[in-house]
Amino acid sequence: MAAPRVAVVGAGVVGLSTALCVADAFPACAITVLAQRFTPGTTSDVAAGMLIPHRAPETPIHVQKRWFKETFTYLFAISNSTAASEAGIHLVSGWQVFKNPPGEELPFWSDIVLGFRSMSEAELQKFPQHRYGQAFTTLKCDCPPYLLWMEKRLKAKGVQLHTRKVANLWELHSEYDIVVNCAGIGARQLVGDQQLIPVRGQVLKVHAPWVKNFVRDGDGLTYIYPGINSVTLGGTREKESWSLSPDPSTTKAIFGRCCSLEPSLRAARDVEVKVGLRPSRASVRLQREAWSHEGAKLLVVHNYGHGSGGFSMHWGTAKEATQLVGECIAALQGSSSRAKL
């Protein structure tokens, strides 16, 4: 049968990494990435790309742990290679500090990041308003570099990338056999998933190159993440807010909160304000479906709803989505051989 035609919808961290995994696993496929927005215009570009997982409420812990570990291991190898600077992946150490006792002694990811331990009294003195803390080293994926690097690798493998607004997945049924839906927050409209809600995040990207360590308040609302060319200051978690416009009073509040964690930030300059809508769901939708209508068929694999955990989980979910694509290919081959009889 002819090479399966695969469309990946969405060009954020999930879409591009899924396309890469599929291209590597099934080199015979003709793959196209379709997206309304490519870097630097995706939700992923707003994120700091820190590998610090969030607990998705309905995904079993062992699955989250597996996805995080696969992602961390994969990125760790890149960070340690000559490709690291182009890919935008680097190690960063720092502290997660708590005003109140953390919910759990050891988060599920503590043995995956490097050197996880409780902060010493001397270290905590730097954070007079906080009483507990964890120190560790993890990875950061800077965007746009990471997305650009994936786009480059995709093109080298013959994957096509097209800007296109897909109104519904069915419109692709005549051009493609399999569609992988990595549309992130766009899936709400694209497939009408009411369980997917935006959680609005506003961040500041500032020039403060002397900040070499990350600091995160355990409540998840205030964080300082040093990237390659800017430091990301955050943030907000506004459920069900669809607004993509920066809010000036929020900007002031974020800056104030971050300066109390890291006073040297007062000297920061070139403040850029960005907003992203985290595609939040009780669990990532990783599922395949077979659609048919009046004799036409379309196989669909969903891989969206990563919320705050896109970067932390992306490689693990890309691999799982790739397995589902494999099942779709097998189904196609099965039905085509049946058709030959």
Partner: protein, 310 residues
């Protein structure tokens, strides 16, 4: 050990400043990183001075093939290129005057009216007073643009000696690659051979550095000495100055004779010979030198102006 005390004093002084609005202007910031060894070593004396000192995990050591043991800790960077101008401005605000001149002797300075001279002439202190224990330790560094490097990495080779093994230290704008430590060399010319060796060895440590463009290169002379010379000395009365005395060096009133310098004799406070760790201990040393100055001033007050004995 004084050096340990000076290190602690310096670290704590700077740690108290790292959260201030002045920190960025001072070139002062916290940085975490790795000290790497090829075999297990005892913990350093400064393990409780720095923050979060611990041994490296096996997972971390995977990052550094060829090294089987190491430490992780959070320390401070104080960039000289920012700190010196910042200090200069603070001093200028206090009325301190600066003269860009060559000094050939302590006498020349006393002749101009100085009561006390503080000798911080570093590697060239021997030109003012011969010191066979002082010698240059030539270093060369490359500054590259590698803003993704957020950790320091300092390797140790117990055979090559201190500072003679690759190190990578992220600055606020550029990342510094080193290290060589050539004892006895006075050359401040950049050596192509050293450049290659430094680049090669650092890229082996951090492969991503191969993509980093070299922006600056520089050679300097560490003022190497078995110990820092931090002591006072009476000079300029014609007597041969004593060497090797401690900070006291003052005889009791009434015991003066031709071989004992008098307390009203011109005094030099030596503060040089900090090797490759000047920044690391500078504040503790400065305070010690200031205390020596305090003693001198106190003695002179007690003595009053010289009176003839009846």
């Amino acid at each position: 050990l004084s050096r340990r005390l000076w290190h602690r004093e310096t670290f704590e002084h700077l740690l108290g400043r790292v959260g201030s609005p002045e920190a960025a202007a001072m070139g002062l910031f916290l940085v975490s990183g790795y000290n790497l060894f090829k075999q297990p070593v005892p913990d350093p004396s400064w393990r409780d001075v720095v923050l979060g000192f611990r041994n490296l995990t096996p997972q971390e050591l995977e990052l550094f093939p060829g090294y089987s043991y190491g430490w992780f800790n959070t320390a401070l960077v104080l960039e000289g290129s920012r700190y010196l101008p910042w200090l200069t401005e603070r001093l200028t605000q206090r009325g301190v005057k600066f003269f860009h001149e060559r000094i050939d002797s302590f006498q020349e300075v006393f002749a101009r009216g100085a009561d006390v001279v503080v000798n911080c002439t570093g590697v060239r202190a021997g030109l003012l007073q011969p010191d066979p224990e002082l010698q240059p330790g030539r270093g060369q560094i490359l500054k590259v643009r590698a803003p993704w490097v957020k950790h320091f990495i300092i390797t140790h080779d117990l055979e090559s000696g201190v500072y003679n093994s690759p190190y990578i230290i992220p600055g606020s704008e550029l990342t510094v690659l080193g290290g060589v430590n050539q004892l006895g060399s006075w050359s401040e010319e950049n050596s192509a051979r050293d450049r290659r060796a430094i680049r090669e060895s650092c890229c082996r440590l951090l492969p991503a550095l191969r993509a980093a463009p070299v922006v600056q290169e520089w050679s300097g002379l560490r003022p190497m000495r078995p110990s820092v010379r931090l002591e006072r000395e009476a000079v300029g009365t014609g007597e041969v100055p004593r060497r090797g005395r401690g900070a006291a060096g003052l005889r009791e009133v009434g015991e003066w004779g031709p071989s004992w310098p008098s307390p009203s004799a011109p005094q030099v406070i030596h503060n040089y010979g900090h090797g490759g760790f000047g920044i690391t201990i500078h504040w503790g040393c400065a305070m010690a030198a200031a205390r020596l100055l305090g003693s001198i001033l106190q003695e002179r007050q007690l003595l009053g102006p010289p009176r003839a004995r009846i």
